[in-house]
């Protein structure tokens, strides 16, 4: 069918173009528009908008696509190793592409307001474009190596974005921490990838998924677990989770971008992308389930005691990512991916709302924001309420639908412990979400602050920030009802035969837990004369444990500074200075010393030397005469 092939080729070009546009914008801004912020922003927005348009076109036109489209070019050949680049268009990648482009576009529009007047405005948009391009290529990758490459580039651009305000020590340090900790995971990823390449010789994800590589099951488990290492790093799971809350040092739109749909979601996306491959190993999936569960619960507890509004959302991001991983590991392909999409929407919404509040009140502390009169800002407050409801999983917001799907997959597992953990997660999520909402909406000293003008300092480009937020809130309302078409769409990708709706008791149970949690939060924070201390904070030890992130940072700090810095590294340095150089120096010293000894031999009286000379001559004569 020649017509069809022409059409599909056109779509492939669209895919390439969608990915390339932001890269072009990056280069253009970096070299030509560094000193023209306005033009830089325009170029960057235009590029992302182009990608968005292409993504939507692809989404609309490929809706009835039977088989994935792909276009592959050879990037490099070395011996038998062929590394290729390309675009791979199927249900998952197209949906993800649309979500990524959408979030990128909205965040960039929002940044017009948020970042206005920043000296590094053009640089900001350059990095944003780089990020968008890398993320798009990652999403479209047909092969594991390409995925890894753009995975790393995403990490790089997140490093640059988190450390965007590099004059602040904390910001540059947070960027470094993010990069190094994700790198730690990536090392495992790379090892797994190389193992696959060496043993299987195939890098194509489709080929890996249908078992064309002919790997043994043990090898699959080992490489899957290694690749999970990359996921753990990128998606900030236990034990590499602590970089994510620190990454809040970046500008808020960056947080919104990184921690909703793009960077951290890349880990989940990888699992989804290679879902059939990973499904071949039960052990690896169980490992993933455990990791997801532990991270989900741990970070939820951390969120319960934080005073920093962005930190709360950061912890909740980890927690929700853990939730997605649980779903995927439990076999719920659709549940995990769907939660990824809904989460992308409402988490971006929450971050952007938080950004508006921070922008208005110049503080990250939710108590300060609440007392500053945040309830006066109608748009962010309403939208944040929508986002919070979605995060908690209240009908009819999008979070409800996806969370129910996740719980439904957990029900299907034999071991009920996972379901219980999931329900506990639901409870905690609702609790810390509404704790934050109540603190901001019903601040403790309500009476005094009323007098202040709530819209103080709001003479910023409000519109640029408000419209993306409103759009996202709308998406959050709608997305929950799109479960069925998305499911149909994704069905082509993998054997999605999991339950979307659990048993009848599941939805009431989870909703009941949510409302119970909200009630607890209300009692502690919302009602008049509430003490505004949570039940956790009453137990000092536990509060301390949660506030210090279960001492994970301390453990990592100890490992780096003691084991690595002062242990291994110092040992190497000392070995260099003492052992190797010491050996060399002693060699040199020995040469000098032996020279001295010989020189002393030459300093004896001439007559002794004369004697030696004679002796040598006559000795030689004798020798020659005897053996000559």
């Amino acid at each position: 069918m020649p017509g069809a092939s022409v059409i599909s080729e056109t779509w492939l070009w669209a895919g390439w173009a969608a990915a390339a546009a932001p890269f072009a914008a990056f280069v253009l801004i970096l070299f030509l528009l560094r000193r023209r912020p306005g033009a830089a922003a325009a170029v960057s927005l235009a590029a992302v908008a182009t990608s968005m348009v292409f993504a939507l076109c692809l989404l609309v036109c490929c809706v009835d696509m039977e088989t994935p489209l792909r276009s592959v070019v050879t990037w490099m050949i070395s011996g038998d190793t062929v590394i290729s680049a390309g675009v791979h268009l199927d249900g998952l990648s197209l949906l993800m592409l649309a979500v990524v482009c959408g979030i990128c576009l909205l965040v960039q529009v929002y940044s017009l307001g948020y970042m206005a007047g920043d000296p590094g405005f053009a640089r900001y948009y350059a990095f944003m474009s780089l990020f968008a391009g890398a993320m798009i290529f990652l999403v479209l990758a047909p092969g594991l190596v390409q995925l890894y490459i753009f995975w790393e580039l995403v990490g790089l651009s997140s490093y640059l974005l988190i450390g965007f305000w590099f004059e602040k020590f904390s910001a540059s340090r947070a960027g470094k921490k993010a990069f190094v900790m994700t790198r730690l995971g990536d090392v495992a990823f790379l090892a797994g990838l190389l193992l696959l390449l060496v043993r299987g010789g195939v890098m194509d994800i489709a080929a890996l998924s249908n078992g064309a590589a002919g790997l043994s099951s043990g090898m699959i488990t080992v490489s899957a677990v290694l690749i999970f290492g990359g996921v753990i790093g990128k998606s900030a799971q236990f034990p590499l989770m602590t970089w994510l809350p620190d990454a809040m040092e970046g500008p808020t739109p960056v947080s919104a971008l990184l921690h909703s749909a793009t960077m951290v979601a890349a880990g989940v996306f990888l699992i989804a992308r290679m879902f059939p491959f990973f499904s071949q190993s039960d052990a690896a999936m169980t490992f993933l389930l455990a990791v997801g569960t532990v991270s989900m619960l741990m970070s939820a507890t951390m969120a319960m005691v934080s005073r920093d509004i962005k930190q709360v959302w950061a912890y909740s991001t980890i927690s929700q990512l853990g939730f997605m991983l649980m779903a995927l590991a439990a076999g719920g392909y659709f549940a995990g991916v769907f939660h990824l999409f809904t989460h992308a929407g409402f988490k971006a919404l929450l971050f952007l709302c938080a950004g508006m509040l921070i922008h208005a009140f110049h503080s990250n502390d939710m108590f300060v924001i609440g007392q500053g009169g945040a309830r006066g800002l109608k748009i962010p407050m309403l939208c944040m309420a929508v986002g919070a409801a979605a995060l908690s999983g209240i009908w009819p917001f999008s979070g409800f639908a996806s969370k129910e799907a996740v719980l439904a997959t957990l029900v299907s597992l034999e071991n009920p412990a996972w379901l219980i953990a999931g329900l506990a997660g639901v409870f905690l999520t609702a609790y810390y979400t509404f704790r934050l909402v109540f603190i901001i909406v019903f601040p403790a000293g309500r009476g005094q602050t009323r007098a202040e003008d709530p819209a103080r300092g709001v003479a910023y480009a409000y519109g640029a920030m408000a419209w993306p937020v409103i759009l996202l809130a709308f998406a959050t309302l709608v997305l929950g009802f799109l479960a069925a078409p998305i499911r149909h769409w994704l069905a082509a990708g993998a054997g999605a035969h999991e339950a979307v709706h659990g048993p009848a008791w599941l939805a009431p149970l989870s909703l009941g837990l949510v409302f119970a949690a909200i009630a607890v939060a209300w009692v502690e924070f919302g009602r008049k004369n509430a003490s505004q201390t949570g039940f956790v904070e009453r137990v000092r030890v536990v509060a301390e444990l949660f506030a210090r992130r279960w001492y994970l940072d301390d453990i990592w700090g100890w490992a780096v500074s003691r084991l690595l810095d002062r242990g291994a590294a110092e040992a190497c340095r000392q070995a260099d200075n003492r052992v190797i150089d010491g050996f060399v120096h002693s060699l040199a010293g020995a040469a000098v010393a032996s020279g001295r000894v010989l020189a002393r031999g030459h300093r004896v009286m001439i007559q002794a030397r004369l004697m030696i000379m004679f002796a040598v001559v006559f000795g030689l004569t004798c020798i020659m005469l005897i053996w000559g």
């Binding site: 050949i77 590394i83 590099f166 790198r183 090392v187 060496v198 190797i580």
Partner: protein, 492 residues
């Protein structure tokens, strides 16, 4: 080893241009500093152009030795003047051309004994060019030594921190290396019984016993390995890098260390394949230790140049690991890493050199916020750092990928250890970036100028090369492949 004669002796032309530049610089009066600089720039630009021509004109499909020139020189000794390049030396010629050109431009503001400096510099480069193209063991050794001895003067006269120590250590180490190489060459030539130093003749016709190969390869490995920074013979390199002036550091870390690896490849592996196979596990072990060790030792350094010096040790370990794998991937990756690391280190040192010229401070604890003061210079520094970390789409990523791939194939344990060193690498290089470029601005440096367009040029060239070959690695791999396939398929 197939030889394809040159229509036009372009290789000798490169040497001649260098020598002409050297003569011109020597003949100019010492006061005319600008003239000396212009002459050196023209000389380096022409050599760069010629090496680019060689890179482009090299016939990848044909492979083998091309542009071969053959002249009898001393028939009674079996010495002849043979030049030729294959897929291994073409990238390195290009690298030398690039680093030569950018090095000369980097020293544009240099003002102390300009004439002598550039004369020595050009002499050094001549030796390097000659070494990369020589196909006669005698000439190869002579060029090798020609490229070593100006180093001592360059460091002692124009160096900085602890220069006498650094220069002496470097020279003694490298001469110790020569002292092993020469017996190795003579032994092999004597063993062949052919009475010729010609590498193609020896490779094609000589039949060395396994013992001779093992012995000779060991000599070559240690002798050239000292120059290549193989652990534990690497300690000269950080000390030397630190002491040397910027352009010399660039050339030194960028090109000279490659000479060592290239020597192992060209002499050791071509002549003694069985020795290579015998010693490969040892090479892999030492290389892996070097990779991890360099990164770890770099973690504790406080001097910018020391950090780069140790990262060089780590990166040259990657080269060693690739060569030890004895596969097409490994050799490809190793040669590409030589190229990529050369350009990367040159950029690194030139960025550091700029920072040092302006601040006279190399302890990075005292720097800070330089990205704010000099965003472009800081940008080059960061780009070099990212290349050093092995960020994809920058040249050295591809090299590391292939080397690690080969290592996983042949030595899985070493491969795993080497991979984990990537994380340490990231940690220590980013730490330096953070301390140098980020953080609050030190008020002392607030008014420093950013890098000007002229001085930025060499850095731009280097950065461009890194990015071009990072995005289009096939440009380089096709060339390297044409040689490595032949080498590996010729193995017993």
């Amino acid at each position: 080893m197939q030889l394809h004669s040159a229509q036009f002796p372009v290789l000798s032309l490169i040497l001649l241009v260098c020598l002409a530049g050297l003569a011109a610089v020597v003949l100019l009066p010492a006061e005319k500093k600008q003239a000396v600089k212009y002459v050196s720039t023209v000389c380096s630009a022409v050599t760069l152009g010629l090496s680019v021509y060689v890179f482009v004109a090299y016939d990848r499909a044909l492979g083998g030795m091309q542009f071969v020139e053959h002249l009898q020189w001393a028939p009674s000794l079996g010495v002849s003047y043979i030049n030729g390049v294959d897929g291994f030396s073409v990238p390195l010629l290009l690298l030398t051309g690039i680093v030569f050109f950018t090095g000369v431009l980097t020293m544009w503001e240099h003002d102390l004994r300009v004439k002598e400096f550039f004369a020595m510099f050009i002499l050094l480069v001549t030796g390097v060019f000659g070494m990369f193209m020589a196909l006669d063991l005698f000439f190869l050794f002579v060029w090798y030594d020609v490229s070593l001895f100006p180093m001592y003067l360059l460091i002692v006269i124009w160096g900085s921190t602890n220069r006498e120590y650094g220069a002496l250590k470097l020279t003694l180490f490298l001469l110790a290396g020569s002292a092993l190489i020469l017996p190795g060459i003579v032994y092999l030539v004597a063993e062949s019984g052919m009475g010729t130093f010609s590498l193609p003749a020896l490779v094609n016709n000589a039949d060395f016993s396994p013992f001779a190969q093992k012995l000779a390869f060991f000599l070559f490995y240690v002798g050239f390995g000292i120059l290549a920074g193989v652990w534990p013979f690497h300690t000269w390199s950080p000390a030397g890098h630190v002491a040397a002036p910027t352009a010399v550091s660039m050339l030194h870390a960028g090109v000279l260390m490659k000479i060592g690896a290239f020597g192992i490849l060209r002499v050791g592996m071509f002549l003694c394949p069985e020795g290579w196979a015998f010693w490969a596990p040892v090479m892999a072990l030492l290389a892996t230790i070097g990779i991890v060790y360099g990164a770890l030792a770099g973690l504790r350094q406080t001097d910018l140049k020391f950090v780069i010096g140790y990262s060089s040790v780590s990166h040259m370990g990657v080269v060693g690991l690739g060569l030890a794998a004895m596969t097409v991937d490994g050799v490809n990756g190793a040669v590409f890493q030589m190229f990529a690391h050369g350009v990367m280190t040159a950029l690194f040192f030139s960025a550091v050199g700029y920072i040092y010229d302006k601040t006279h401070e190399r302890k990075f604890a005292n720097l800070g916020g330089l990205s704010h003061v000099m965003p472009v210079a800081g940008g080059y520094f960061i780009l070099a750092a990212l290349t050093g970390i092995g960020v994809p789409c920058l040249a050295s990523f591809w090299a590391e990928l292939l080397v690690l791939l080969a290592a996983f194939d042949v030595y899985p344990v070493y491969g795993a250890v080497a991979v984990s060193a990537l994380a340490i690498n990231a940690l220590f290089i980013l730490r330096v970036v953070e301390k140098t470029c980020f953080g609050p601005v030190n008020p002392k440096w607030e008014h420093l100028p950013d890098v000007s367009f002229g001085l930025g040029m060499p850095r731009l060239v280097l950065a461009g090369v890194i990015v071009i070959f990072g995005i289009m690695p096939f440009l380089m791999y096709e060339t390297i492949q044409s040689a490595s396939m032949l080498l590996i398929s010729g193995l017993p």
